[in-house]
Symmetry: C2
Subunit: 506 residues, 2 copies
């Protein structure tokens, strides 16, 4: 009785958080400009109600009863895992005053709109005040949450539980060591031919082809849809309704195509969560107060990067699918073959924009952000100094001079919606994708499918080892179960080295 | 302190209800089919939380304090009106168990999807079980709410406070007396030429023209948007985001055009509510648990019908705006002039579908539904007998033989989402529109504007007398203040008689 009643209360928390996600999706795809202010209040109220329902006396009473009820279940049973997660989340939230949470949601909603305009105008000064507010709120959060070494660790906990600034250092060092020589070697070679990607490709056809590829790798449009937005994202309102978004350049076709494969990878993580976990804590981030089935942002990113890059930018993928692409754009791709296309979409060009960067330089964008965020949080860097610090690091890591802030410090959506501490997840996702894909390819059916443009065996392997488990296991437990070891960059560095050796004939 | 704290709590109730409205809008315009089941749960949870927050001990404590605080304000002051409305709503809801409310929301969400399919298949049997559930729930509701004469009165209260089955009888009698001879006289005349409306009009151009006209009469797209749906509706998430929907026939152009003007009329009622009322009970239906600024469904319908019919189907409107329409569709309207078009869109043809019916027969569709609903509610008519009863009344009132249920009993969306007792509002809206438009035209600026295709003075008159007041005054108080008398069908009957005498040269 206690356990079932606890589940129903957690179902209501999930409902409120899913409702917030619908409002967020709408805000970023459909909402008319006038709606921004009251939408922020509505989002704040939904989070406050979800949080209050979670920590309410009645929930705690039911949790006590439930814990006693399931005490004789195995320690890693679903029931005890759920009780432990609810207990941990309640402890976490009782450390954070609800009014702080509400201010944070309101600033996040306002911030997004300020940022959209500031980025369009490349006007950092217009964004600076709300970034100050965001950082102050995040510092307050870190103090409430608590940490051992650095306030940034407290902020990362929401996105990548267990990760700290110091635990990232050896991972980053291995990547630097493996990737810097690779980027250098590539820089000495001639770039591939890419001119045919830089011509007009009709928007509607781009969207249709991108969605067709997303479906092909396993994204289910009966339980999803694709829309346009400024900064693409994936969002779910239970596994039954998981939406993806993209943006389209009418003269740089890869953006919509690979962006959509990326979000489809995220989407499948949610769509193939065990249906029995729907509305339970195993499909709800009770700490981050977000209705999501993925166990960490890094684990989530492993699925998006895997389908975008390991699958979507592979030679084999285009040997099998280029025909459909050329049939869609016969004029634009006249005289181009699969190999030429494959080389073009693996073009390495150190650039300003993280989301447009190639696989060999992507992780340097992440290291830059992690270092800058940590310094902003501990106050060793001020908001006024931020653009200069950003630009200096871009010069140091990628040898580039940033021409204006829209190509620099204003490019990412994260800060605008109040998120600080999430960037490491991208590199963790890259590394985890390398590790999982190498393991999956040991399976005959997966390998056979990849060689026949049938991506169901791969999707099913990921569902079996990752998707279906929702939040039942930690990221490290998932990796141990799937590959026999925790996070390990060996496969990822080997994958990049092997691919670029082939693309650039190193 | 008590009053302001009460307002903030009511603001949160409004937030939750607005969130529910965003989810409803999404469900009916954007949601992929897989999302239906969990969406129903999410909507139910939002209503339950709104209701529980409204009736919570803390709200009642604050209400006691607030009432004492504002006791020396004028009886009709905003403060005392708000306190009285909160008190009334709490009393109402405490009579209805929250689990009944939750079941009702869930059935409503499921019902909509069942109905969409049943209507497409003209399969009443597929819809009957959920209609049984809906009626049973509404009967339970009526018993909880309480009534003096008929359970239907209790159900109407949510939509049209103060109206009863018996109070409708004299109104209906006057309309029958005034309109039956008119319909008969029209039936003896030749119909106008309408062939040019029954050809392909491109969908995108129809939408663009309809939206252009909606903007012209005053609908603000900075705080709104137009989308496609199956059964058009208007919905608001505060006055800052008020959305309208329409459907388009590619060979019957008036549907999208007049449907959009209709929803724009609803939309303006919300958009021009006093901004000071945002998130307060004066922009929240605390009894119906719906975030709406209009004071009754009938008052709301007065605005939609006024802009659709009194303005949109007037001779003067097309004398001034036909040029823009012909420029949009030069081939389709080749050789057609404003007068021919105006006669065509006032074509009287007794038909099966309420939302497509002309002004002279519309109210007969309403009388039929009110009689049938009341009989379904008191059990004198069973669901099994419903199609036959419907078809018999269509024969009696409009002389028509209904060929299948999609053109009969399955046509309306209302029952599918759990609404029973709302149909009288359409006729009340028609009557109120006639009364308000006759009064507004006594104003020189309004009349001058109408003669120069400038609809701002009319919209401003409506804002001054209706929109801005939100839910501060009752429908009858609004009418008294605007026209010096309560609801009176004289102007409406005179308007129809005069228009059709001209159109049909009676």
């Amino acid at each position: 009785m206690g356990y079932n009643a606890l589940l129903e209360r957690m179902g209501q928390v999930n409902d409120l958080l899913c409702a917030g996600s619908v409002l967020s999706w709408d805000e970023r795809t459909m909402m008319p400009p006038g709606g921004a202010e009251t939408r922020g209040k509505q989002l704040a109220t939904l989070k406050v109600f979800a949080r209050n329902h979670l920590v309410a006396d009645e929930t705690r009473r039911l949790l006590d009863v439930a814990e006693a009820e399931v005490a004789n279940h195995a320690e890693d049973s679903v029931e005890r895992t759920i009780c432990a997660q609810v207990r941990e989340a309640i402890d976490y939230h009782l450390r954070i005053p609800s009014e702080l949470l509400q201010r944070r949601a309101e600033v996040g909603s306002r911030g997004h709109h300020v940022w959209v305009k500031a980025r369009a105008d490349s006007d950092f000064a217009a964004f600076a005040p709300i970034l100050e507010e965001t950082l102050a709120l995040n510092r307050e959060m870190a103090e409430c949450i608590g940490y051992e070494e650095h306030p940034y660790d407290a902020l990362m906990h929401r996105f990548e539980p267990g990760e700290t600034l110091s635990s990232l250092q050896p991972l980053f060092a291995t990547l630097r060591e493996g990737l810097l020589p690779l980027v250098k070697a590539i820089g000495e070679k001639e770039p591939p031919r890419v001119d045919f990607l830089q011509q007009p490709y009709p928007v509607e056809k781009q969207l249709a082809f991108a969605l067709s590829m997303a479906r092909k790798v396993g994204y289910d449009t009966h339980r999803g849809r694709l829309d346009l937005t400024v900064h693409p994202f994936e969002i779910s309102f239970t596994r039954n309704d998981v939406r993806i978004t993209t943006r389209v350049n009418d003269d740089w076709m890869p953006k919509s195509l690979f962006g959509t494969l990326h979000e489809a990878g995220h989407g499948m993580y949610e769509q193939y969560c065990d249906p029995a976990y729907t509305r339970t804590p195993l499909a709800t981030d009770l700490v981050g107060l977000y209705a999501v089935g993925g166990v960490s942002f890094g684990a989530h990113e492993s699925q998006s990067r895997l389908f975008e890059n390991q699958v979507g930018r592979s030679r084999e993928f285009w040997e099998l699918n280029f025909g459909e692409l050329r049939d869609t754009f016969p004029e634009q791709l006249d005289g181009i073959d699969a190999e030429t296309f494959w080389r073009a979409v693996n073009w390495v060009r150190p650039g300003f924009i993280r989301v447009e960067s190639d696989e060999s330089t992507y992780d340097f964008h992440i290291m830059l952000r992690v270092e800058i965020e940590a310094a902003l949080v501990d106050g060793s860097l001020s908001v006024a100094e931020l653009p200069e610090a950003w630009n200096a690091k871009m010069k140091e890591y990628l040898g580039l001079d940033v021409p204006d802030d829209s190509l620099g410090v204003l490019q990412d959506v994260h800060w605008s919606s109040g998120q600080v501490g999430t960037f490491c997840n991208y590199t963790i996702g890259n590394v985890m994708a390398g590790q999982l894909f190498a393991e999956a390819k040991k399976d005959d059916q997966v390998r056979g499918g990849l060689g026949a443009a049938d991506y169901h065996p791969l999707r099913e392997w990921m569902t079996e080892h990752i998707h279906r488990h929702g939040r039942r296991y930690t990221r490290e437990q998932l990796l141990e179960r799937a590959t026999g070891r925790g996070l390990d960059p060996t496969d990822y560095v080997a994958y990049l080295t092997s691919k670029y050796t082939e693309v650039y004939e190193l």
